[in-house]
Symmetry: C2
Subunit: 107 residues, 2 copies
């Protein structure tokens, strides 16, 4: 069975990116599944951690692909590339990690 | 309705932490749900991203709590504190972000 692939994107916008521009970029990110069917699930939120170990990152986006090939197709998709170009121009930092999720038993 | 809270931990072990010690720490992390019922789901994996934006992080752990109070109880739980002390001694860097996941519509 091909394992799922989860793709985590952490973002810190530049200080001079106004809230409405940030919102526009977030909406742009949210529009990608409408163009790229390889995205099977997508959730996001703003950092609410309590340990002060977020290193300045404020926004979390988690995309799920059904294979690494799906992720690869997303990365080179023109809609993603156009969006990524805009996003990268607006961020002070970005961090991306991908993983095949293995479950850990809980009670 | 109280929103779920997801807690992402990214880790890069110190270079001198041997693979079996890394494995022991990973297993220690995996044992926490047996002690802390506030952890409602837990998945993990190693970084397989393709964009070279992982900033050295190699391991991803994602815990789900059913509220921020559950997360708070986890943070101060003696089993977590004992584990976190061991983990922090073994890592070159660690990053933690928490978020209330909002779903984005997919096809």
């Amino acid at each position: 069975m091909v394992p799922l692939l989860k793709h985590i994107v952490l973002v810190k916008f530049k200080d001079d990116i106004a809230p409405d521009m940030q919102e526009s970029l977030i909406q742009g990110f949210h529009s990608l599944p409408g163009h790229i069917p390889h995205i099977k699930a997508f959730e996001w939120g703003t950092d609410i951690s309590a340990e002060n170990m977020q290193q300045g990152f404020t926004h979390v986006f988690v995309l799920t692909f059904d294979s690494s090939e799906g992720r690869d197709a997303y990365l080179v998709h023109p809609s993603h590339q156009e969006f990524a170009h805009k996003l990268l121009a607006a961020v002070e930092k970005v961090l991306v990690v991908d993983y095949n999720p293995s479950p850990v038993q809980c009670q």
